[in-house]
Amino acid sequence: MLKIHVDMEKCQHYGQCVFEAPAVFRLNGEDKLEYEATADDSERDNIQLAIEVCPMQAIKFAE
């Protein structure tokens, strides 16, 4: 299992992560980011791509 952490102080809800890992990240009805705090190992590459494209560099794998 992978653990994911988004720093919601930094996140500006740009939604770039959503296109890379839609199974993990989405914008809710208020256009705010929502995400799964855990994900299957098969999502590792997608999450890594989401980490790279986040303009605020707000996403990381949590220990």
């Binding site: 500006q12 740009y14 939604g15 296109f19 914008l27 256009d31 560099q57």
Partner: protein, 406 residues
């Protein structure tokens, strides 16, 4: 020992290229030359948080993972020349380094006015962390700054400085700020919002002199108006760092011309072997729009280019069969940008400046809304003010239909 892959430019494009090479299976040596003394850091906060909050390099540095732990970073060192025929780069100490592959990620530098006498202090621009640190030292309540240039960087610096209690005056050449990138409706809305916060604009104006000796005292406009100020910010655009390729058979006018695999091309259009350019400095075609080559100065571009270059270069160096397959897939990104100014939060996709017509697609003018930018019948760009999910839904639709692509 095998020659390393050399990456020139230690910023977003340089770092992402190193990461992508590793992810694509290349395990040989990688050496990055960066002119700035700092490890790669994120530039968009330079016009926002770095000015507004007293953050330092650590707050904007890109996190680096284990995959790139063995990359050799040679910072504070400029590459003066690349010899594409001999596979050698020469650094500013005159030392030569052979490479197996080279990736140019040298980005842009701020453009400066061509005026004879400029004051020796108080003149600023915002491209690097050092620039931003120098500027924020003068952004104290009660001071007055004049910003020349009403593009994204000028407008963002204006908004940030205003929030800090600085008296802000923007001088721009066009009738409204951000006209070329956004179109007149949205641009006028943005100007009005800035004005509501107290930013003053002198549009349709050129600065003909910056007056002062040791310090900036005032600027003179072409209509004769003189505006006193404590500091002056040049935000009149940028120029690509291409000089290191002089003397090669290349096309480096307004950026380094690359093909649809991001390989640096000769004047006849054929690619140099194992030589690439990524990021702001590259001039490339985007097939979903047209075969026109252009630079795109958006943050998502270096990352997307690096993914492609990592695959092509590592397959090429390994002599693997995947290379043939990879080069048939043309690089075809969706340009993406965002901008935050006061309460205004923009998110855009596509190539808005290729449009000849703007239409309100959703929402209301001067409020949260989505504008569509059209060239003929084709939606070439969208820009949302707020309304994130709505804009995102248009992302995959921007581009030109093959019939009109010429």
């Amino acid at each position: 020992m095998t020659d390393p892959v050399i990456i020139v430019g230690g910023s977003l494009g340089g770092l992402r290229t190193a990461e992508s090479l590793r992810r694509s299976g290349y395990s040989g040596p990688i050496r990055v030359f960066g002119e700035e003394p700092h490890a790669p850091y994120n530039r968009p906060p330079l016009s926002k948080e770095v000015l507004a909050e007293r953050v330092d390099h650590a707050a904007v540095a890109f996190p680096q993972g284990d995959t790139t732990a063995d990359v050799e970073w040679i910072l504070g060192t400029r590459v003066d020349h690349i010899d594409l025929g001999r596979n050698i780069v020469r650094d500013n100490r005159g030392e030569e380094h052979s490479y197996s592959g080279v990736v140019v990620a040298t980005g842009l530098r701020s453009r400066h006015m061509d005026l004879p006498a400029m004051p020796t202090s108080g003149v600023h621009s915002v491209r690097s962390l050092d620039d931003a640190m120098a500027l924020r030292a003068v952004l104290t309540p009660g001071t007055r700054i004049v910003i020349y240039g009403a593009g994204f960087i000028g407008c963002e610096v204006a908004a940030t400085a205003k929030k800090l209690g600085v008296d802000v005056i923007v001088v721009g050449k066009g009738p409204v700020p951000l006209l070329r990138p956004l179109g007149v409706q949205l641009a006028s809305d943005i100007q009005a919002r800035h004005e509501a916060h107290g930013v003053k604009f002198f549009m349709n104006s050129k600065i003909t002199r910056v007056i002062g000796g040791d310090r900036v005292e005032s600027v003179l406009l072409d209509n004769g108006v003189e505006i006193w100020c404590n500091a002056f910010v040049e935000a009149i655009g940028s120029e690509p760092n291409v000089e290191l390729l002089h003397g090669n058979d290349v096309d480096i006018e307004h950026g380094i011309r690359v093909d649809d695999n991001l390989r640096i091309t000769r004047a006849d259009g054929t690619p140099w072997p194992n030589a690439f350019a990524v990021g702001d400095v590259a001039r490339f075609p985007i097939p979903r729009f047209s075969d026109r080559v252009r630079r795109v100065e958006h943050w998502n571009i270096p990352t997307e280019m690096s993914r492609k270059v990592g695959k092509v270069l590592s397959a090429s160096l390994a002599g693997s069969a995947e290379l043939e397959d990879e080069i048939t897939k043309a690089f075809d990104p969706i340009p993406t940008f965002w901008s935050d100014q006061f309460e205004l939060s923009l998110l855009a996709y596509g190539l808005i400046d290729e449009a000849d017509r703007v239409e309100l697609l959703e929402g209301r003018e001067n409020d949260d809304c989505v504008y569509g930018y059209f060239c003929g019948d084709d939606l070439v760009g969208v820009c949302g003010v707020g309304m994130r999910s709505a804009v995102m839904a248009y992302r995959s639709r921007v581009g030109r239909k093959p019939a009109s692509a010429s």
